[in-house]
């Protein structure tokens, strides 16, 4: 029974000022509508330009559930296409990345396409003469996605032809991508390896919300971070220098007061970040030679400004999180209403000491891997929530921590770091991007079938 299709009012009804209905996490119909509306209306991360360094390089990705392929053309431009052959729909690229040479060749009937997507050749072409083929969409080659923006090498796309412009959509939130990129003395990041992949049997939004949930680490991660501290204190003997591993785990156990004062910043359209004043990444030991390189590249003042901005987690609505200080991006890829693939990427700071890359890789496997004890703690909570939300006793999820009546939507603000306002911010954006093209489809905007 379609409860939500063509019913923007019902969708909006799922989001109250400081509560959301459990259907946003457990209802398959809502998930279908997210794929149909939310993801196409939003700007989605596709990949990083360093993965496409040479002509013919390609990467594949999904936007919502739709497969896409990005390629570097001979003139240096990056193009994005739906990953399907215009003939019978066969995926044109099947690997996560590679180099296709001068053209893509469909493996089924050998139609070929230039790396800008245009149709290059069809075997036995005369069979199409006089058939009206030139008037079909197939004649245009691979279907191109027009709304693509590459911001400091981060490739984003919006599938909907019409919608919010990239700059308006992200606004000042791009400052986290700036900070991460500026942390390279050359102002350049590079993807050098595949991501860590981790399958989650929960709704994708649980992961996104968790990124700014600062009241869970000291509770849910007592088992991992707490044990790490305990074992280190017992085993350290005479060693005075904390190993990198203990430096990375330890701060998860910071008390509520720490998170309260470190602050959360929210931006319009559902973006926001934890760690405004300082963060769990603030006290990592210095890495030899790095500050010198930064000062040489940017000057004393600017170098300290860049390195002094130690944000914790930045959520780019709808489904990525960027950790500028540790050069990690987590992509929460929706598979089904209760299934999410998490791909966690590490960027190398080009020109910076290896030790920084080593630390980022270590952080990624400690926190974001299927073998990560911190990951085990989190996934257990998501799975239990996915189960618990099936109960009918109370159908609402409570997001009221530090709620103030009359909170304005779509503003920039800095607030107490234990507030759930960023989650409220995300759900406000969720309802907006879910319904912005539903209204158009209806004769009477906002008036849906009862």
């Amino acid at each position: 029974m379609a409860k939500y299709e063509n019913n923007p009012r019902a969708i909006r009804g799922l989001v109250r000022e400081a509560e959301v209905h459990r259907d946003v996490y457990v209802d398959p119909e809502v998930f279908e509508l997210e794929m149909e509306h939310l993801f196409p209306n939003s700007w989605i991360y596709v990949g990083h330009a360093s993965q496409l360094s040479k002509p013919g390089d390609f990467i594949t990705a999904n936007i919502g559930r739709q497969p896409v392929v990005a390629s570097r053309h001979s003139d240096g431009a990056i193009h994005l296409f739906y990953n399907r052959c215009p003939h019978k729909g066969v995926k044109i690229a099947s690997e996560p990345c590679g180099n296709t040479g001068k053209f893509f060749r469909c493996p089924y009937h050998a139609w070929s396409f230039k790396t800008d997507g245009s149709l290059l050749a069809i075997p036995l072409k005369k069979g199409y003469e006089g058939t009206g083929f030139a008037e079909t969409q197939a004649n245009d080659g691979l279907s191109k996605i027009k709304n693509v923006v590459i911001y400091r090498d981060f490739i984003f796309a919006r599938l909907s032809e019409h919608g919010v412009a990239f700059e308006d959509y992200f606004g000042d939130s791009l400052s986290t991508i700036d900070n991460m990129t500026d942390r390279s003395p050359q102002g350049k990041l590079a993807v050098e390896a595949a991501p860590i992949r981790y399958m989650h049997t929960c709704n994708w939004k649980m992961l996104v919300e968790n990124q700014t949930d600062t009241c869970h680490p000291m509770v849910a991660h007592e088992s991992s971070a707490g044990t790490a501290i305990k074992v280190w204190q017992r085993e350290q003997g005479d060693s005075t220098e904390k190993p990198m591993a203990v430096q990375l785990y330890g701060p998860f156990m910071s008390p509520y007061e720490f998170y309260e004062q470190s602050g959360i910043r929210i931006w319009p359209n559902g973006h926001g970040h934890t760690g405004v004043n300082n963060s769990i990444h603030s006290n990592y030991s210095d890495i030899e030679g790095y500050l010198g390189q930064m000062v040489a590249a940017y000057g004393e003042t600017r170098a300290h400004e860049i390195l002094g901005e130690v944000r914790h987690n930045t959520v780019y609505f709808p489904n990525i999180m960027v950790k500028g200080a540790v050069q990690i991006l987590r992509n929460f890829i929706p598979i089904a209403v209760d299934r999410t693939l998490v791909e966690s990427w590490v960027y190398r700071l080009v020109g910076a000491p290896d030790k920084l890359y080593e630390r980022a890789l270590m952080y990624n496997r400690f926190i974001n891997a299927p073998t990560s004890i911190v990951g085990h703690d989190d996934l257990e909570m998501y799975e239990r929530a996915q189960e618990g939300l099936k109960t009918n006793g109370n159908q609402w999820v409570n997001l009221r921590r530090l709620y103030e009546s009359g909170e304005e939507p779509d503003v920039t603000a800095v607030i107490n770091g234990t507030s759930e306002r960023q989650m409220r911010n995300q759900f406000h954006a969720w309802a907006k991007y879910m319904t912005m093209d539903m209204d158009k489809n209806l004769d009477q905007p906002g008036e849906a079938a009862e």
């Binding site: 860590i196 044990t227 074992v231 591993a245 785990y249 590490v346 080593e358 239990r384």
Partner: protein, 158 residues
């Protein structure tokens, strides 16, 4: 005198200690400088500047083991159990004079928790050294055949 049989027995015993959850006895098999490594690339060479699923020293292995028994380790309620099915180890080196002992063992590993059961296939490589009359693990390396696939939680040791 350490023979090929000694190495084979050692590999079987190590798996048995994991399956029977004799964690302390298992840890005692490791050299103080040992590493437990699960690469994330085919024939990976570098554990430090290439991503891995695990690359842990004894301190971190102790953290894992202590965590398993923690009162507030919610992901172990209910507890996980595991089972190793090993092929006969292939002895790659058995050189007492040089102190080099290496084996590679094909395995199927099962981890269960509650109603869930996950199965993994791969190869375990043991780099061993002699300490007194005993063998100790210097490096245990687990290469999964599908290291690049997305897994759910893997909470015990392969």
């Amino acid at each position: 005198m350490i023979s090929e049989n000694t190495i084979t027995d050692f590999v079987y015993r190590e798996a048995d200690l994991l399956d029977t959850m004799q964690w302390q006895a298992w840890l005692d098999l490791f050299h103080p400088e040992a590493r437990y490594w699960m690469p994330l690339e085919w024939q990976q060479q570098d554990p430090v500047l290439q991503p891995s699923l695990m690359y842990e020293d004894l301190l971190l292995m102790k953290v894992r083991i202590e965590r398993l028994a923690g009162e507030r380790t919610f992901s172990q309620k209910p507890k996980s159990r595991c089972h190793h099915l090993l092929q006969a180890p292939q002895i790659l080196a058995c050189d007492p004079a040089a102190g080099i002992f290496k084996a590679r063992t094909s395995f199927i590993y099962t981890e269960t928790r509650g109603d869930a059961l996950e199965r993994f296939s791969g190869w375990a490589s043991h780099d061993l050294v002699q300490v007194g009359d005993e063998l100790k693990i210097k490096l245990k390396r687990i290469d999964l055949v599908n290291f690049d696939a997305p897994f759910g939680n893997i909470q015990l040791f392969m």
